[in-house]
């Protein structure tokens, strides 16, 4: 197709880890499934503004991913249904349609199939938001998903493994990715509100020290390239506690 412009430019993409990826990290870090930490399904009906629908779509996507990865089959279908309700409100209800829910229900015992369904669905949602110029919704949903992932990971920090604590501290980097994403969109009151709400979380993560080192690639025995080196992450328990407290505050501000 002939181009609509003739002058070259640089396209900058901003991305954050998907809720499924975060849930996988939590599982590998030895966290135990805690159904009490999940957002209440019934609250979805009360979200009538685009802002609350978008953020809570992200929060429920986080819970959906967490349920899928921990093989909570019925809960997974319930959270997918709740995401459908919010998508209806946002005008993209055709993406999570009855056929998709039925497919998820039929594959509820096959985790890999559910992972594929969830990632494919949220990829389609992100694409639709881009196509329809719904940047605000896209940004708020990404923020909600990120918030819920860190929230779920910090519910039992006192008894958690060192690996989980490190994973939480490392979220300082993904928070930078998220803030870059939010700043890349035209500022709306809802996006500005989200960035303000995340300010205390950013302040808590300031206690995590990341020392940058050069990374290097080398071949492992199995032929895979391994990128070693890179940043060194340091933190203390007080910093993790502050992260846990501030993330709960912002999560509960939206998931009310």
């Amino acid at each position: 197709m002939p181009a609509r412009r003739q002058k070259a430019f640089k396209q900058i993409f901003h991305a954050v880890p998907s809720p499924i990826e975060t849930a996988m990290l939590l599982e590998r870090s030895g966290i135990r499934f805690d159904s009490g930490a999940l957002h209440t399904l019934d609250n979805a009906a009360g979200y009538t503004t685009t802002e609350l629908q978008s953020v809570n779509l992200g929060i429920y996507a986080g819970d959906l991913s967490y349920s899928v990865i921990f093989n909570q089959n019925q809960q997974s279908v319930d959270y997918l249904n709740t995401c459908r309700r919010l998508c209806d409100g946002l005008g993209v209800g055709d993406i999570i349609n009855a056929g998709l829910i039925a497919r998820a229900d039929n594959n509820r015992d096959i985790r890999d199939s559910l992972v594929d369904i969830v990632t494919d669905t949220f990829y389609s949602l992100n694409a639709r938001f881009r196509e329809n110029g719904m940047e605000e919704v896209s940004g708020l949903m990404a923020a909600g998903g990120w918030i819920e992932g860190v929230y779920l990971g910090t519910r039992s920090l006192n008894t958690s493994t060192d690996d989980l604590k490190l994973r939480i501290a490392e979220q300082k980097m993904t928070l930078e990715n998220l803030m870059g994403l939010l700043r890349s969109y035209a500022p709306t009151p809802a996006l500005k509100g989200m960035m303000e709400a995340l300010t205390p979380v950013e302040a808590a993560f300031a206690g995590v020290t990341i020392t940058e080192n050069a990374a290097a690639a080398s071949a492992a025995e199995d032929g895979m390239v391994v990128i070693s080196g890179g940043p060194e992450v340091q933190y203390d328990q007080a910093t993790l506690d502050a992260i846990s407290e501030t993330i709960a505050a912002v999560r509960n501000q939206y998931a009310k």
Binding site: R4, N177, G230
Partner: protein
């Protein structure tokens, strides 16, 4: 005089509005085509890697660049796939560490993807180039940067 002026304004305004509408629909159509292109031509190449659900796809022309910064988690395997419409030619890409040092360059390899594992969690930048072309009419095409993970 006023009538004539108004009529002239209307004549000028209607085509402009129509052009704007055509542009809006064309851009939306191109984006929708990119989604279809990505799903059919790019996603299968991620194979057994779980895709990141971000939509890093754009319509680019020769000479364009695209850049993505993302956090990669330690002890996890990734496939980075750079997928472009054939009309754009052979795309090249580099992976840079957080200090801007090059880790990987696809220029001398005939592969559209890079499989790797990260020992420590780190932010990296993926930089993609669409080769410039000396042509009167430049053609555009979809470019997608896809990231899948496993392990």
């Amino acid at each position: 005089m006023n009538v004539t002026h108004s009529a002239m304004t209307a004549i000028k305004t209607i085509p402009l509005a129509a052009l704007a509408l055509v542009m809006i629909f064309t851009v939306a159509d191109a984006t929708a085509q990119c989604r279809t292109f990505t799903k059919k031509r790019c996603l299968p190449a991620l194979e057994d890697y779980v895709q990141n659900d971000n939509y890093n796809t754009a319509v680019l022309i020769p000479g364009d660049e695209a850049e993505l910064e993302l956090t990669f988690f330690g002890d996890r395997a990734y496939r980075l796939l750079v997928c472009g419409h054939p009309v754009l030619g052979d795309l090249t890409f580099q992976v840079l560490d957080s200090r801007g040092n090059g880790i990987y360059d696809s220029s001398d390899k005939e592969k559209d993807h890079f499989d790797f594992r990260v020992a420590n969690t780190q932010q990296m930048t993926i930089r993609v180039q669409v080769p410039p072309k000396e042509a009167v009419i430049q053609h555009e095409g979809c470019v997608s940067i896809m990231v899948g993970s496993k392990g």
